[in-house]
Assembly symmetry: C2
Homo-oligomer: 315 residues x 2
């Protein structure tokens, strides 16, 4: 398989990041199973450190740095879970982290990064300013840039989530993950196809940010322009490396609209009593919309994170 | 110990209700521990069947009926978790349940009872109408009345929650539970004092419904009049049998105001990513208000349930 992480490398990554992560539980709901007509195993990455699977990839990238690189720390631009995850991983590893964030980022996100020990560098809220500022920071500090998803070590880290699912001894017919930049879906597909090639891997995406769906259909990477969805963790465009993995190893990508996402999100809150971000609800929404394809199956769904603004719940 | 359930009886009850309940997990949060200055083990009864510990007492009461009693089913008046719990326990046991509910009860509560197979009998929204209607139902059907908390078999069932906590092998210095009617706190105190007499058992109550606190202080049962608190699961007055157990076996009752309850509730949503009802947050609020008393301890806190109206979250 091209220059993708191997199963052996994913297993080693899993060992490597043990001190940085929780082994998250798998939960089920009889009521949701009845509604769906299949047996769903939710992998609860909302209970992960920093509240999202991003803790895995960030930790893996940090631990893999050389001693020389560690001296100068790490840097990224992000206003989401990757920023918090990288800040925490760096602090646990005893190195510095520089996080470029748009000045418009919510106070709560800045607070989270600071609380994990990250140094915030503010910039104008546009992509060019973010990249320019990041380049300046990297030049000045010598820090290593750790991108949020389009990066070998990050994908290798995210791939450890599916590894834990397979260690539970469940014969999944299908595993589903949301797709934004494609780090989680890519990693999940790699692990799953190594371990069980007959298992289907399906990505789920909001209609309002469906670049992965369109790229997958056309087999050509089409960047997202003007995404618009409640699933704020999935606004980013698919990464290049992630797209390659997805083309090779993912069986299908399904899309759902925001109404369907909110209904699935509500179901998870009400029936499972857990807090998830809207992005998490996308795979369940896609499954419920296409029930007939999953009838009687054992389906693994990765709940990617739980960092939601409680004051802005859509119900 | 007077005519209270014995440890042996509680253990048998736990075996008896196995087909009706989940063994709920214990969860922790590093962030909350740091804030609190002690190590807290949250027993997640929000993940229990019907979303609350009430599943335990109702199941125990139903299974203990004689075959003769089972023929005529069970009845209760309640608009809360006990109603849903009794309806479900009866359905699982293959018997009928009659639930008297005030006509003003929220549609969602009625729907829950119906979905579990309970037959709803509506009455005027006042206590006299509830009792009169219940008596009529019992006379007409021959059903056995299962009260929500002031009842031996129910307390015995609720006591199984603490039993599971002790089975985890943690040396609790303190165990805390919210107190409304006193079924959970009474059961928790019995189990805990049987197993570890030196462990403190502390009840936590909203200031706006502090009859247990006042009764405990004055050693005289003082019924609650005009309760007013966001913790809607704790509006009921302390039961007689429950009060006896609490006087004998509980070490202290602490009170907190609604602002403190909401802050603790928010902390649990944000840090633990789980959905709880406001009543659940009362013990954590009381702990955080009295940190100095718990310094360095291992504290067990029972999160009693997760049935909250998502449209009315206080944040």
């Amino acid at each position: 398989m091209k220059n993708f992480p191997t199963l052996e490398e994913i297993r080693i990554a899993h060992q490597r990041i043990q001190p940085f992560i929780h082994k998250t539980p798998i939960m089920s709901s009889e009521a949701i199973n009845q509604m769906a007509g299949c047996e769903i195993f939710f992998k609860c990455e909302n209970f992960q450190k920093v509240g999202a699977f991003k803790a895995r990839g960030a930790a893996n990238a940090v631990v893999k740095l050389t001693e020389e690189q560690k001296k100068n720390g790490v840097a990224t631009h992000s206003s989401g879970n990757h920023a918090a995850a990288l800040a925490r991983a760096a602090t646990v590893a005893g190195i510095k982290s520089y996080i470029v964030m748009p000045s418009s980022a919510p106070e709560i996100k800045k607070k989270a990064v600071k609380s994990y020990g990250g140094e915030i560098i503010e910039c104008e809220p546009n992509l060019i300013a973010r990249e320019t500022t990041l380049n300046t920071v990297v030049e000045k500090t010598g820090a290593t840039f750790i991108p949020p998803y389009d990066y070998f070590d990050v994908i290798e880290g995210q791939a450890t989530c599916a590894l834990e699912m397979w260690e539970e001894g469940i014969d999944f017919h299908t595993i589903m993950a949301p797709v934004g930049g494609g780090g989680l879906l890519g990693g999940t597909a790699l692990t799953t196809k190594y371990i069980s090639p007959i298992t289907k891997v399906i990505g789920a995406e909001p209609e309002g940010a469906d670049d992965a769906f369109r790229s997958f259909q056309s087999k050509k990477l089409i960047p997202m322009q003007g995404p618009n969805t409640i699933a704020d963790g999935l606004l980013t465009s698919l990464g290049k490396l992630n797209f390659e993995i997805i083309l090779d190893h993912v069986d299908d990508i399904l899309t759902v609209n925001d109404e369907e996402i909110i209904a699935a999100m509500r179901l998870i809150y009400e029936r499972m009593k857990i807090v998830i971000e809207p992005s998490c609800a996308v795979p369940l929404a896609a499954l419920l919309k296409n029930k007939e394809h999953f009838k009687g199956q054992k389906v693994g769904i990765i709940l990617s994170g739980g960092n939601v603004d409680l004051e802005k719940l859509p119900f």
